[in-house]
Symmetry: C2
Subunit: 208 residues, 2 copies
């Protein structure tokens, strides 16, 4: 009961935070493949090597786990996108962004899949923030692209659809990894994939 070592508002001990992170990590693995309904608390508990009531001691319900996970996932998702700098060289900025997304897809496919399943299920939990927060950021970056095109630094193309294309192609390597592995010799050649995607998405934008 002592709180001498605590310092912030949410009075969580170190072990609590560690347990919660453990549960979320295990839940991510389950939710990202089987979706919300296809995942049971038993599965999560088994992965985390905890009992089911113990999991529900840290999260009050399955939905609570899911929502916490979704929020945690969204936090890191936009970082490389926001990092696109209008003052930088357009092709350099775009290449860096595409490569960052490709690395995310290969290194951490699960958050991408969780996100995809959530959106395909109607995105009940995220629609509001997509219409406001996400939309504001997307519009801002679309304006950056438009500026570059107006300056003659990029060939003209609709900026919003360019963003969608970059997202879809890069995330495809996470979301459809199973299919890609069936169609290519395993293990997939990451360097080849990254070079090809850069070629396909950005070559048409280059101004001589």
């Amino acid at each position: 009961m002592s709180r001498t070592s605590d310092d912030s508002a949410p009075k969580k001990t170190r072990i609590q935070e560690r347990r919660e992170k453990l549960v979320l990590d295990c839940a991510l693995e389950a939710f990202a493949t089987n979706g919300f309904h296809g995942t049971t608390i038993d599965q999560i508990a088994a992965k985390a090597d905890l009992s089911k009531p113990n999991v529900l001691y840290y999260f009050k319900s399955k939905e609570d786990i899911y929502l916490s996970l979704l929020q945690r996932t969204l936090e890191g998702w936009l970082d490389p996108f926001i990092a696109i700098d209008v003052a930088g060289d357009p092709m350099t900025e775009l290449e860096a962004y595409v490569l960052a997304k490709m690395d995310m897809s290969f290194d951490q496919p699960l958050p991408s899949r969780l996100f995809a399943i959530e959106v395909m299920s109607g995105a009940t939990q995220m629609k509001q923030s997509m219409r406001t927060t996400l939309r504001a950021i997307v519009d801002e970056k679309a304006a950056v692209f438009q500026t570059w095109m107006d300056q003659g630094k990029l060939k003209p193309v609709d900026p919003h659809h360019l963003i969608f294309s970059i997202w879809s192609v890069t995330q495809h390597y996470a979301d459809f990894a199973v299919q890609i592995e069936c169609l290519l010799d395993k293990p997939p050649n990451r360097a080849l994939a990254k070079a090809a995607v850069i070629d396909i998405l950005l070559r048409g934008l280059r101004v001589n």
Copy 2:
């Protein structure tokens, strides 16, 4: 019990076929948004305006409905891809394919979503056919693209990854329709989307 009007092996009456199609149509709507586990037979029955036992009279289990649906969906999926003709003009063939896929995404997003959810869930039911049938077709078309590039009719790029890019960008408009609607003014401008996608995916391939 009369079979005078029947002609083929599966002795189904016309009304049976109609009912089965009705169930599959309603099931598609449910499975494509909520996945296998998120969908109940009750939901399907309600949509079809049938009782639950009546649905199970036509399909012996929920899994039976799901698998039948998956098979039906896959049948039409590859048609426009197979139609790509090595003897045709490369840019014309590619444009026709991309536009066909875009129309499919806008007009029939549900099969695409069903497919996507299945793949993200591990594609237990389809892995085998992806490794054999689909892979053969993909390799064949990749060879067609390679031929065109060798002939100098297309700028060189890895053909397999080009196929993945086309799939991902076009199907994105079906699978992530909810997100796109949040980020663009509704209703989405189809002509603009199609033109932009053609630009982004194919402009870099054009040889002057």
